[in-house]
Amino acid sequence: MKPALVVLGWAGWNAVLMLVMIPYRENALFIGMYALAVSATAAAAGVVWLYRRSRRAEGPVRMAANSLSAGFLAVAVILAGSSVLFGQWLTGIAFYFAVAALLHVRRERVPAGALPGPTAVPTEPGVRDQRGVLPKAAKAAATAGLLTRALRTLTGRRKGAGR
């Protein structure tokens, strides 16, 4: 299973459920609302697919050494939001926090060759894949056997019903 396909498949399943609304005559406005969510999910699948294709996923994980900028940014957001309630002067303070966040982001970068270096973390397991040709063939044979048996039962029953 490919990750992008999981997301896309899920969006597709939602699209089916959404389309079933049409014969039930749900208001088009609200089918549209569902369609919007489905398209957003499909777009997310596209982003996942593009990321995988770009091979950035295979490169070293780059991780910031600190996250205080996120805290500053959140203060800026909540102050800007409360300025609607408590007065515009709060946006002024929010602005300073936004600037602080921006300045701090640059200090959070990890110096080259230093910590943390997740690439050095052993993520290579000893055995990668067990599925070989033989188990695959056995699986196929078992499935075929089951199918013929199911078919036989079905036809048998039909014959019985006819009698």
Binding site: M1, P3, A4, V6, V7, G9, W10, W13, N14, L17, M18, V20, M21, Y24, R25, E26, N27, L29, M33, Y34, A37, V38, A40, T41, A44, V48, A57, V61, M63, A64, A65, N66, S67, L68, A70, G71, A74, V75, V77, I78, G81, S82, V84, L85, E108, G113, A114, L115, P116, G117, P118, T119, A120, V121, P122, T123, E124, P125, G126, V127
Partner: protein
């Protein structure tokens, strides 16, 4: 070579435990613990609000709190439990465990995740700060239906702060859910294919798909309220009112599943571990989780049957279809435990109670999914009983199954067994004594969200029983709190080994608590050949 050396040296350094290092952390485990700590604290606060309500309702005609105060109590109790407690806890479980379970050194984009934490924290403060304003906190219910929530009917700062806080918190949750989803999809260790991810990780994938698809709709709904509060008369048009309900429930049905799925996953891991065997029906469970999550996106109109403006047939059909994936999960649960040598340790007790009790929540849900019954039960205590059975008897028990299970991993300390058992039994008795009578109260006609009732209504006995149950439930939670504090202060005596339960998934291969980047030279990632890599390893060593 130099990079490796630098990392090796880094690991020798003692862990930075300063406050500054916590507030500026980029470690997914610490961010998850921050969210968990705030959410557990708010669980007790919102629980205290519920106890106050049960005190008011214990007897007819009481004036323990005013009508206005009661409206604030149920609004903030519901809002806090949903937006600030169970949803954040569900996502925090995913944030802590998914990177470990898929063998990633960290969550993708940890600063974005941390931004999610801060927004959640500030949003919570905004919602609760309504109590400090002259008009009191928000009082139109966690659903904030229009036109009730407009400035005409709900003037005052409390509602404004509620809208702001809920909006900001929801943005935070989208950030947390999105980064965890990205991690599961794209940051797995080599060998960890999608179909080797543990059931818990899959439950988190399904959860976060709902987060990214459904949560933005709440932002639109809240935006609509905000515009309506600034534009008097907007909600004179019924299209806006019904539109608000659609936007709201398009979020609010899936959020119930967001508050539930990770705990289904937790219970699955607990069952497999304490049944000492591989989880039964893995692939079909994964598929049914995804189908389940998709279906939950299509049922929102069942909350609007009584408006008479939705397609009852469609929403009833999809709602009743939910029993198919739910049934599959139940079969997988039963298949895992039937005939196994079960170990009845604390996480297992909570997991088994979850399975039994959630059934009541699920079946009463199917009852109200029928429009005919829903017209009768709508806005009655039957509904209150139903969703408390799903969220308390279900989710909260699953949450505690997971908490007792993973607490040693996250803290390096085992939770005490004596107090743990007290917690379990008090909570189990308390939950059923509180919420079971509510079904009869609803059938007898008691409406929800009322501050009082008359002695002649015939609601007195069941209300008294429910209030006594709430007290027992409260005692259980107290036992839990004492247990956590006592266990954490006895770090030495109760030190946890790496894998105290003989569990199957990757997080148990590393130390308790795990090192900053999850795995290191002393705790490498073992070979991954299935969704139970540690079980594979054990089978190899002790055939």
């Amino acid at each position: 070579m130099t990079a490796e050396l630098a990392v090796a040296e880094e690991r020798e350094l003692p862990r930075d435990r300063s406050l500054r290092s916590w507030l500026g952390t980029t470690d997914h485990k610490r961010i998850a613990l921050l969210i968990t700590a705030v959410a557990l604290l708010l669980l007790f606060v919102a629980g205290a609000l519920a106890l106050t309500m049960r005190l008011q309702l214990a007897q007819p005609d009481q004036e323990f709190v005013t009508n206005d105060g009661y409206n604030q109590l149920f609004t903030i109790h519901g809002s806090a439990m949903i937006y600030l407690v169970v949803t954040p806890l569900a996502l925090a479980y995913g944030l802590y465990l998914v990177p470990l379970q898929v063998g990633a050194p960290n969550v993708a984009a940890p600063r974005t995740t941390m931004l999610g934490f801060w927004l959640y924290l500030f949003g919570s403060v905004a919602i609760f700060s309504g109590f400090l304003t002259s008009g009191g906190a928000a009082k139109e219910g966690w659903t904030a239906y229009t036109p009730l929530s407009t400035s005409e009917y709900s003037p005052g700062m409390g509602t404004d702060l509620w809208v702001l806080g809920t909006f900001v918190t929801t943005v935070g949750m989208i950030l947390v859910g999105g980064t965890v989803l990205w991690t599961a999809l794209l940051k797995r260790a080599r060998g960890m294919t999608m179909l080797r991810m543990p059931v818990f990780s899959w439950s988190v994938v399904a959860t976060n798909l709902m987060v990214i698809a459904a949560f933005p709709s709440l932002l639109f709904a809240l935006g609509l309220i905000a515009v309506g509060r600034m534009t008097p008369g907007l909600f004179d048009s019924n299209l806006y009112n019904i539109g608000y309900q659609h936007l709201f429930w398009f979020f609010a049905h899936p959020v119930v599943y967001v508050m539930f799925f990770p705990f289904v996953g937790a219970v699955a891991e607990v069952l497999a571990t304490f049944a000492q065997r591989r989880f039964f029906g893995y692939t079909i469970t994964v598929l049914s989780l995804l189908a389940f999550a998709g279906l939950s996106m299509s049922v929102w109109g069942h909350h609007m049957f009584t408006t008479g403006l939705v397609s009852d047939d469609y929403y009833s059909l999809t709602s009743i279809l939910l029993i198919v994936p739910a049934g599959i999960e139940y079969f997988a649960f039963l298949g895992t435990i039937i005939g196994a040598r079960l170990r009845f340790q604390l996480p297992m007790l909570f997991a088994l109670a979850f399975i039994l009790q959630f059934l009541v929540g699920g079946i009463t849900g199917i009852m109200v999914a029928s429009p005919v019954l829903d017209y009768q039960m709508h806005d009655s205590y039957f509904v209150v009983g139903h969703f408390h059975y799903t969220l308390v008897a279900g989710s909260l028990f699953g949450l505690f199954a997971g908490l007792y299970f993973w607490f040693p991993k996250a803290t390096g300390v085992m939770l005490g067994r004596g107090l743990g058992h007290a917690h379990f039994w008090l909570m189990m008795v308390g939950t059923n004594v509180t919420f079971l009578p509510m079904f009869w109260l609803g059938i007898a006609g008691m409406p929800r969200r009322v501050a009082s009732y008359l002695p002649t209504d015939g609601f007195s006995t069941f209300n008294l029983i429910a209030s006594i149950g709430a007290g027992i439930l409260g005692l259980g939670m107290l036992a839990f709190a004492v247990n956590v504090v006592r266990s954490l202060t006895k770090r030495k005596e109760r030190a946890a080994p790496d894998n105290p339960w003989r569990a199957h998934t990757l997080e148990w291969a590393t130390s308790s608590p795990p090192p900053p980047l999850n795995f290191d030279d002393k705790h490498p990632i073992p070979p991954i050949r299935s969704y139970a890599p540690l079980l594979d390893l054990r089978r190899e060593r002790e055939p």
